[in-house]
Symmetry: C2
Subunit: 480 residues, 2 copies
Amino acid sequence: MGLALRLLLAFVVIGSSVASDNVDLWPMPQSVSHGGQKLYVKKDITMSMVGSTYSDDKAILKDAFQRMVDLITLNHVIDGISPSALVLTCVNIVVHTPEDELNFGVDESYNLTVPTTGDPLYAQIEAKTVFGALHAIQTFSQLCYFDFTSRLIELNSAPWIITDTPRFPYRGLLIDTARHYLPVKIIKGVIDAMTYSKLNVLHWHIVDEQSFPIEIPSYPKLWNGSYSYSERYTMSDAVDIVRYAEKRGVNVLAEIDVPGHARSWGVGYSSLWPSQSCREPLDVSKNFTFEVIDGILSDFSKVFKFKFVHLGGDEVNTTCWTTTPHIEGWLNDNHMNVSDAYRDFVLRSQKIAISHGYDVINWEETFNSFGDKLDPKTVVHNWLGEDVAPKVVAAGHRCIVSNQDKWYLDHLDASWEGFYMNEPLKGINDTKQKQLVIGGEVCMWGEEIDASDIEQTIWPRAAAAADCGLQWRSLQMTQD
Amino acid sequence: MGLALRLLLAFVVIGSSVASDNVDLWPMPQSVSHGGQKLYVKKDITMSMVGSTYSDDKAILKDAFQRMVDLITLNHVIDGISPSALVLTCVNIVVHTPEDELNFGVDESYNLTVPTTGDPLYAQIEAKTVFGALHAIQTFSQLCYFDFTSRLIELNSAPWIITDTPRFPYRGLLIDTARHYLPVKIIKGVIDAMTYSKLNVLHWHIVDEQSFPIEIPSYPKLWNGSYSYSERYTMSDAVDIVRYAEKRGVNVLAEIDVPGHARSWGVGYSSLWPSQSCREPLDVSKNFTFEVIDGILSDFSKVFKFKFVHLGGDEVNTTCWTTTPHIEGWLNDNHMNVSDAYRDFVLRSQKIAISHGYDVINWEETFNSFGDKLDPKTVVHNWLGEDVAPKVVAAGHRCIVSNQDKWYLDHLDASWEGFYMNEPLKGINDTKQKQLVIGGEVCMWGEEIDASDIEQTIWPRAAAAADCGLQWRSLQMTQD
């Protein structure tokens, strides 16, 4: 309550750049100005692309536009009688590059103008890429609402001039299909909802100690570790999910969490376990372990085309390595202690990932333990506390912020105010170091949720992070 | 646990008519026999209607078939290679009547056969009406499953011969949009899920003391009693919901609960309240009260075409009538006590509903208080306990069973075993009296749920009621 109150005060004291009326845009674009005219949106509003160098062969824009039209009716029946004037009949979308390949760092900026004059009257979107245009369509949808008196879609406070570009190139949400299996349809629903908040990375924590739901063609017995015969994803399902996400401007970051969090791997290949009685971390002493990692990452590289792969590396309890005779012997033969072995495991896995064309993301324990040995292109994924990011960027590494006290969605007592006020750049003053923070991520770990409640646990708190820490604060609004 | 154990025992002791393998059909059809052959279902399986006298002009079957095809993939990618033989390529649906008007008592029976020979190999559905055919499509979908090894839709244990007809003509689910508003999309989702369990009546408890979300064109200020400007349904929305439901074989039963449970009516028309300080039940002394009821039911009759309307009549606390001077005077002038006034209110409302072509359903308090005065065609809706239905049918009235201890979904401590074992005909021995029990209904009252958790609170317990009390127990299964 105290924090909520301070938020309100902040809105008041920020001065003349804050509109006194409500601008119902979320996340708030970088710059917004508007007037006071009411328009009506034609029920069968159309999309045109006059002036685009982009062809929309894959129907990315066409389908997004249709989804937007469905969305703004909120399933109500539009049966009012439009006035003859002030009816928006079209949205013209100008995309300035023909490419439609999504990846890290793609330009996501856009301009959106909704004029009050013109015959026909049409809104205009300009964007460098189709992915910026997708964001503009989302913003446009938030200007529209179904009015119960006119029974029409109305658009208030025109004309609008909106320019927007994301504050960070990486705006993530983690889902976890190892603790509870999530049906493909649910994952697609999560992706749809991400687009409303302009989040652009689905971090798919696919496997963990509890289950291994995904097919790995190179080592087909791995998914014997699934919870059941039907709680599985084929590689074709993964391709389908990735395509679905990319069509919505969302990258899919795949994770295998090694060497800990991998007990389920041994259900199909028990030699990956140190022993039958001690099953985690993966057996560091065997080449087979790294052959399997290589097989997984080779298969991943055909499906998960995002620049990054996540190799985990957190919470490694090495007890099984010192209590299993053949591993203890191997450590002695190689003059290593368990810390050395943990480091070598992570670095060897990194090399395999790099050989498949990936940049690597690792959880922060790897940096905390041997940061100077990590591949220089490693992105360090913070989760433990908020004081790590400044150290990571000072060491020249890139960083993703997910401090658990503020941005872990499975912490049900973490308030929306905490999500809202969390600042990824806290404690970082140097401009170049700030640029090494590529963004942040809210994490929906799967122990306590399943398909029945994942959406209502993610939202609305993830949207609070999206508006503030990841996009532009609602304060940065201007009015003409 | 004890009950679950007894259920298991019942399966075992029923004798030779029970299959030793699992037949995964739910609710269990009236008669099922099957063999042991595996078939594959063509990815783009088609529907034909050779031999039908029904034209499917409204695409009821065509759309249901497409939904079924989408459903059986569970959003997986079908990318296996079909064998050349034993592939089901088509479902031929023979409907023997051209009419497609849904209402109470429509024939819902069907036969479904899935043979193992034929070129082309096709399943056959026969039904008297399109609504029986819809049930057959649901049953067919439950025979199909995505197999992770073949990556195809498989259908085990063919040939199948299934005949089915519902045990009761009224198989209801109540939703309550007064305690929490439910968006149209959520209501449609509930309707979709009802069809999987072959429930056929959506009892829409639209308004109550808390809110009045629906538009009434005759008295347009009534929906001033909605929770907010946007938590409303237009009459066009209601038409849309009714059409959506009918296309899926689900009737929509509308309810206004009078004279209690109606405080929200007075937000728009405060003279419906006994006084500003005493707002419920509706003012029995004013003609205006009954003019409004007439207006609502007149408007309803243009939208809700089901044979029945529900007029509530439960939990009427008449204190406001005796403590409000003008009503107390009216009672004295008419030589009535509050019981007389309650009775007259209900009977006068019944006459209004009948004048608009409806048969009336009332909650059981009306029967318990003045059963001999009710219109003889009244359907009494049980909710308080399980001993009322025998009295209702002995008095010659029809009855719907919803005893709250077993079939109230808002009772989170009501177990699925309780839902499963509840028997609508308990205590009724006479065959003709049994036929007066037109069915049962599970009730999802809205105080403690909203759009975020209504589906997972309804299911799976509603399905337990659908299999046992409302359809045919899983025991009634035969094997050849």
